[in-house]
């Protein structure tokens, strides 16, 4: 298309092309800006043969619109009432589909018909419309000012300052009210982003003389033994035992969302524990936060062949055998790791995640 542009640019003055407007190459077929010599529309004179054809097309669209409306009525009365009761809930979606479809057809056909009518059948001539000055003439302005002041005098607004001032006072808080709504941006999360229920649960277990809190399968609440999870390549979503009982009812979902953890059994010989975390795994069974450190999607696409944990939102990829380090994608930090141990054959967590889970926040530091 570039050569066409060049051609037209040479033929007439190059003008700036605005996105969405027809390309200059089409100027030959269209009216150029400011060209008053020929009118828009179907022209000053209609070509009778093509007008006849256009008329038939428009009529066809109108008939289609008619058919659509009739179909709407017919469906409403005749069909949607069958079986599922009169517009019963069982067939609501089917009913919506047909009622909406026929109505849309009706409106669309009518709109298309009208558009073709305007474009093909209306002879148009250039009309020159005079523009007047926006400002009113000085005389009317003076009269208005006079009237306004007379009204102010009449109402006593100028004479009675008490009324004027109390009215202003009444209006002031109304103007300030939107500022108060800013309070809804808070309250600040304070320390709540820094810990999860794992910490509280471990503390509670330690008070009872245990090593840590058991890991239970999310959904079934069954605690997991080491032998239950012994198969290399296994993966499951776990929560601290008793989370739904120990947390106030209105906070269960929040706490579950923060504490949700993936338990993975990676081949022990390939596992490289991070420094200071050598005993955080049990024979290659490791636990990482399920919440991606990028923007907090559930990162749990575990590939047992590559040992990669993938986040479905932005393809952040973490290496499960290497302390969940980021190997690809926008995440900035590894997934937090949960310290694990064994007690009475059950897998237990012996502490909270060492760092805040999930995405960055201002005060995270």
């Amino acid at each position: 298309m570039s050569d066409e542009n060049k051609e037209t640019a040479g033929a007439q003055e190059p003008r700036e092309r605005v996105i969405g407007t027809p390309s200059p190459a089409r100027d030959k077929a269209l009216l150029a800006d400011g060209d008053m010599s020929a009118p828009a529309g179907a022209g000053e004179q209609l070509d009778e043969a093509s007008a006849k054809r256009a008329e038939r097309i428009v009529a066809l669209f109108f008939l289609l619109a008619f058919a659509g409306s009739v179909a709407f009525i017919a469906y409403y009365i005749g069909w949607s009432g069958r079986d599922g009761g009169m517009h019963g809930v069982l067939r609501a979606r089917e009913s919506n589909f047909w009622l909406g479809g026929t109505m849309a057809l009706s409106f669309l056909a009518m709109a298309a018909g009208v558009t073709i009518w305007v474009r093909r059948l209306m002879a148009s001539k250039p009309i020159i419309q005079e523009r007047h000055e926006f400002a009113a003439d000085p005389q009317s302005r003076a009269v208005f000012a006079e009237d306004f002041m007379a009204g102010a005098e009449d109402s006593g607004l100028t004479k009675r300052p008490l009324l004027r001032r109390t009215l202003l006072l009444a209006a002031a808080p109304l103007g300030l009210a939107p500022l108060v709504l800013l309070r809804d941006l808070g309250p600040l999360p304070e320390k709540r982003l820094r810990s999860t229920h794992w910490g509280d649960a471990v503390e509670k277990a330690k008070r009872q003389g245990k090593k840590g809190v058991r890991l239970v399968v999310d959904g079934t609440h069954r605690p997991l033994k080491v032998t239950d999870f012994a198969q290399v390549g296994s993966m499951i979503t776990v929560l601290p035992e008793g989370i739904e009982e120990d947390v106030p009812h209105d906070q269960v979902l929040t706490q579950v969302a923060k504490a949700v953890t993936i338990l993975i059994n990676v081949p022990e010989e390939k596992f490289k524990p991070a420094e200071g975390r050598e005993n955080w795994h049990v024979n290659g069974i490791v636990a990482y936060s399920k919440i991606c450190t990028h923007v907090g999607c559930p990162a749990a696409l575990y590939e047992q062949t590559t040992h990669h944990i993938l986040c479905p939102c932005h393809q952040s990829t973490f290496d499960a055998t290497d302390a969940a380090k980021v190997v690809f994608g926008p995440a900035a930090r590894p997934l937090p790791q949960l310290p694990l141990d064994v007690e009475d054959g059950y897998l237990v967590a012996t502490g909270d995640f060492p760092e805040p889970i999930g995405p960055s926040f201002w005060e995270r530091g």
């Binding site: 020929a38 979606r93 079934t220 479905p312």
Partner: protein, 303 residues
């Protein structure tokens, strides 16, 4: 040439070129992308006793990659080409062979599901009109089922492993759909999507869709039990048999839901529907706006 030049100056030529280019790219891609041809493995072993037939089938179809003793093979640098089959169990064999993933046709990021080779194709149609054809098809099907059972028994004899679940354990009607939905969303949905449509993984791997009817409840159970390819393992002590049945019930129920109003668009709800609504709906509106406001021809062509 002149006619062509005139043609491409038509107002719709631009749209036509874009459409044609898109179509051409699609066709060229389809032509170049590797195909998964069906393997035609000659199967001459007939009605031999169990393990001997299983071993014969193994030698014909599997040993070239997995080794004569199913020990797996490695390349010159010691990287595994194919895994050892000792201890993978009957369930794994049943899953891989009945879904047609094994015997594999060509090495790749992931073995695709395909029609099983004739020796193991248990989904042959037997509803022929002609009684002779029907008898032949039924015989072939029975043979395929026997072959599969023999191969399973042979691999299981090498080192045990998980068994094929009984039909009662995978009956979707007996599962707790609500529990299954919960477990599916926490453990399966990240890869297979909420309604089991599947999705992409890394390096050309993908989670296959579970929404097609040819994914049988038995195969779903076996996949969870054995963790084929990149999929993690969910053994019976992590998710019990009842919990697996609940997941199967959820998958089957959700895929049997009708799609009102046409295409389900991946059935992931507002995302794909919003995208389609945006692209198609707004696109149409823009086109309509361009049509309504376009400058009109100076004169109507006289025809």
């Amino acid at each position: 040439m002149k006619r062509f030049t005139a043609w491409r100056r038509r107002p719709w030529a631009g749209y036509a070129v874009v459409l044609a280019a898109l179509a051409a790219i699609g066709v060229i891609y389809a032509g170049f992308s590797p195909r998964t041809d069906r393997a035609e493995a000659a199967n001459s072993a007939q009605a031999a006793p169990d393990l001997a037939n299983g071993k014969a089938l193994f030698n014909q179809n599997c040993a070239s990659c997995h080794g004569l003793n199913a020990e797996g093979t490695k390349d010159a640098e010691g990287k595994p080409i194919s895994p050892s089959l000792i201890g993978v169990g009957a369930a794994s064999v049943d899953f891989q062979v009945s879904t047609g993933r094994m015997p594999a046709m060509n090495p790749g990021a992931q073995m695709p599901r395909k029609r099983p080779i004739p020796a193991f194709d248990t989904s042959i149609k037997t509803d022929h009109e002609d009684p002779e054809e029907r008898a032949a098809a039924e015989k072939q099907k029975a043979q395929a089922e026997k072959n599969l059972a023999d191969l399973r028994a042979y691999i299981a004899s090498l080192g045990g492993g998980p068994e094929v679940p009984p039909a009662s354990a995978v009956d979707p009607k007996k599962g707790d759909v609500a529990l299954g939905g919960k477990l599916f969303r926490t453990n399966c949905a990240q890869c297979h999507s909420f309604t089991g449509q599947g999705g992409a993984l890394t390096g050309g791997k993908y989670a296959p869709p579970l929404s097609n009817d040819d994914v049988t409840p038995t195969q779903i159970y076996e996949a969870m039990l054995t963790g084929p390819q990149a999929m993690p393992v969910f053994n019976d002590t992590t998710l019990t048999a009842e919990e697996k049945q609940a997941i199967i019930a959820y998958i089957v129920q959700i895929r049997e839901e009708p799609n009102p109003g046409g295409n389900g668009l991946g059935r992931i709800g507002p995302v794909s529907e919003g995208l389609a609504g945006w692209l198609i709906g707004i696109g149409l509106l823009v086109l309509a706006a361009m049509w309504i406001t376009a400058k009109k021809p100076k004169k109507l062509k006289k025809s």
